[in-house]
Amino acid sequence: MLKKISKKTLIYIFVFIAVIGVVAGLIVGSFADMKVSKELSALEAEKIVTDTLERLPKSVSAGANEVAKKTSVKVNGIKYGEEKNIVLDCEYTTIDIATAINENKQDIMNSAYSKYVEGKKSGTMQNATKIRQSMTEELLALVNSAQQKSGKITLTLYEVKKGEFVLHLSDEAVDTCLGGILSVGQTIDTMNSVKYEGKVVDITNNNSIRTGIKDSFKLVNYDTKKPEVGNFIVKWCSEFADDFYRNFIEKDRWLYLVQGLGTTLAITGLAGVMGMVLGFLVAIIRCTNELTGKFKVIDKVCRVYLTLIRGTPVMVQLLIIYFVILLPIGIPKFISAVLCFGLNSGAYVAEIVRGGIMSVDRGQTEAGRSLGFNYAQTMVNFVVPQAFKAVLPALANEFITLLKESSVAFYIGVADLTQGGLKIRSLTYSNFMPLIAVALIYLVIVLILTKLVSILERRLRRSEH
C-alpha cells in the first residue's frame, strides 16, 4: 500500500502542508505582532497631540484657532498597549469656551443681529461669512476672557505605519481638550430670538447669523473611528469584520437574504413542478405524434411553443409575460414569475424527456403492446419510468439552471435572493459582501441539490443491477 503513494504524491502533500503552514503562520504572526515598533519620549508624544489638536480648526475659524492656541497638553505617563498603540496619561490646560459662550450667548446674538442690520442698511449683502468676519474681534475677546480650565485625560496614539503615530480623535478627546468646543454649535442653535433697540426679534428663520457664529468655532471633519493598525492582513481582517457587521448584522439586514432565499426557492419549486408537468405532457404528445401520427395539430402548437421559448432570452420572456400579458389583468409579480419560469423550464424539460423516451428500446413498447396494453398504458407503465431514469441527471441540471435563472426575477421587482443582495447593496453601498453572499448562497443550494440528485440516481440505478 505504501509503495502505491508515489514520490510525486508525497511532494505534493508536502508542498500543500507547507503552503497551509505559511499562510496560517502569516495570519497568526500578524495578529501576534501588535507591539509598536519604537518607543516615544513624552515630548514626542506631546508634539503629536498638540499638532493634531491645532490642525483641527478650519483656517477661517478664528475662535476655534484661538482655543487651540490656548490649549496645551502635557504627557505624564506612557504605557505601551497590545494593539500597536500607546496610552498617554495627560494633563491638559485649555479655556472653558463652552461656558463662556453659554453665558454670553444672548449678547453675542444681539450684537451679531445689530451688525447684520447695520450692514444691511449700508447696502452690503449679509450672509454667514460676513457675520463671521464682523464678529471676529468680539468673539476673540470673549475667548481671551474665558476661564482657564485643566484636568486629566487619557489619550491613545496608534502606529498606523512603521514609525508613524496618529492620535485617536474620539469625541471625548476633542471635546475635553478643546474646552467643550463641540457643544458651542448646539448652544448657538438654541438661539431663536434677539433684542434689538429694546424689542425682541424672532430670528428662527435667519440661519446666517447662527451659521456665522458657529463657523467661527468649526472644526475640520475628524474621524472618530479608531485608526487602523497592523499589516495588510490585520487591516483586511478588521475591515472584513466591519463590512460583515455592517452588511448583515446591523439592523438585521441578513433577513433580506433569508426572505429572498425563501422566495427564490418557492419560485424555483413551483416553476419546477409546473415545468415537469408541462414538459412531460409536451414530450409525450410529440413522441406520440412521431410514433403513431396522432395529435398532428397539438404537435404543431407544441413546436411553436418550443421554438418561441428556446429562441428567446428568459429575461425578455419574463418582461413580456409580466408587463405585457399579466400586469394588465392584475396578476401579481410572484405568480407571473412562477408562470414564466414554469413555461420556460417546460420547454427544456420537454426536449430532454423526448430524448429520453426516444432512447427507450423499441422492444419495451412492443413487449407492452404484445401483452395487450394500449399505447397510453405502455407509455405510463414501461416507457416513461425508464425514460425518467435515463434523463434524471439532465432534469436535475435543468432544475439547477432554473434556480439560477430565477435570479432575473428581480427585474420585475420580485424580492428574491438576488434582489435581497441588491437591497443590502443599496443600503450599505458595499459591493463585495452582499454580492459574494448571494453567490455563495446560490452555490450552496446548487451543491446540496447536486448531492441529492446523485443519491437519488444511485438509488434508482440499484434497481437495475
Binding site: 428500446d361 422492444g363 419495451q364 412492443e366 413487449a367 407492452g368 403492446r369 404484445s370 401483452l371 395487450g372 396494453f373 394500449n374 398504458q377 407503465n381 414501461f382 419510468p385 425508464q386 431514469k389 434497481s463 437495475e464 443491477h465
Partner: protein, 246 residues
C-alpha cells in the same frame, strides 16, 4: 395434439415496407393445439409474418382471423386480442425497472383485474415451473440470457394466452443456454399450447413441430410434417436451405 378447430387463419396476408414487399400473400391456418415452426433463410419474411399475427406490424393487405374474428378490421380492438396472444421476443424485452415477479404480474393485474395475491401466486407457480422461483425479487439485469428468456415466456403465459408466438427465442442466447429455453418450449408444446415458432433450431422443429413451414421470398414455399420436410423436401429452395443448415 392438434384439434380441428382453427385458431388463426390468414388470408392473402401482405406486408410491404414502402416499396419493399416482404410478404406477398400468405394463406395459413393454425389449429388449436398445433405447434407450427416457421423456418427459412433470413429476409424471407418469417419474423414479419409472426409479428403481423398480433399486428405489431400492420399488415398492408389481406385478413387475419383470430378465433373467427377479423382482427385487421378497423373497428377491432386489437388490445383485447393481444391479451390472448403471448409473444416471446429474440431480445427478451423484459421490463428492466420491474422485478421478475412484477414483470409477470403487472399485465394480469392491470389488464385482467386479477388481485395482487392471485397474480403473485400464479406468478410464483409459473416461475417455479421454469425453475426461477428464487429469482422472483431479482431484477432482469441480474439474470443470464437463458433465465431472461424463460422469464419472458412465463410473462406471456401469465396472461393465459390461447396462442404463443415465438420470434427466434434462442437466437440471442449463448449456445449453452439454448437448451434450457427449448426445454420450456417443449414442455409447453406437450401440454397442448398452440404455438407459432420462428426459429433456426432445426432439432427443435423436427422433434416438437406438428407442422413445419418453409418460407422464402415472402411466400410459403413448402409446408408439411417435419419428417416430410426434413427427409424429403420437394421444393429446390427448401432443399438448398436445408443443405446449408443441417
Amino acid at each position: 395434439m392438434s384439434t380441428n378447430e382453427v385458431l388463426i387463419k390468414t388470408e392473402n396476408l401482405q406486408k410491404s415496407f414502402g416499396k419493399l414487399d416482404v410478404l406477398t400473400g400468405i394463406d395459413m391456418e393454425i389449429k388449436k393445439g398445433e405447434v407450427v415452426v416457421v423456418i427459412g433463410p433470413s429476409g424471407s419474411g418469417k419474423s414479419t409474418f409472426l409479428r403481423c399475427l398480433n399486428r405489431l406490424e400492420e399488415p398492408t393487405g389481406g385478413n387475419i382471423l383470430f378465433e373467427g374474428e377479423d382482427i385487421t378490421a378497423p373497428k377491432c380492438n386489437i388490445n383485447l386480442h393481444r391479451q390472448k396472444m403471448g409473444m416471446v421476443f429474440q431480445q427478451f424485452n423484459l421490463f428492466p425497472h420491474l422485478t421478475v415477479l412484477r414483470n409477470l404480474t403487472i399485465a394480469p393485474m392491470k389488464l385482467l383485474g386479477v388481485s395482487k395475491e392471485d397474480a403473485e401466486k400464479r406468478g410464483m407457480e409459473l416461475l417455479e415451473r421454469v425453475g426461477l422461483a428464487d429469482k422472483a425479487l431479482a431484477y432482469p439485469n441480474q439474470l443470464s440470457g437463458g433465465q431472461k428468456q424463460r422469464v419472458a415466456i412465463v410473462r406471456a403465459l401469465a396472461m393465459n394466452p390461447e396462442v404463443m408466438l415465438f420470434d427466434e427465442p434462442t437466437s440471442a442466447l449463448d449456445p449453452e443456454m439454448v437448451g434450457e429455453v427449448l426445454d420450456v418450449m417443449k414442455s409447453l408444446a406437450k401440454e397442448g399450447m398452440t404455438m407459432v415458432v420462428v426459429t433456426h433450431e432445426m432439432g427443435f422443429a423436427r422433434e416438437v413441430a406438428d407442422r413445419v413451414v418453409f418460407m422464402a421470398d415472402g411466400v410459403i414455399a413448402e409446408e408439411g410434417a417435419p419428417a416430410d420436410i426434413f427427409e424429403n423436401p420437394q421444393n429446390p429452395r427448401t432443399q438448398q436451405f436445408l443443405q446449408c443448415v443441417l
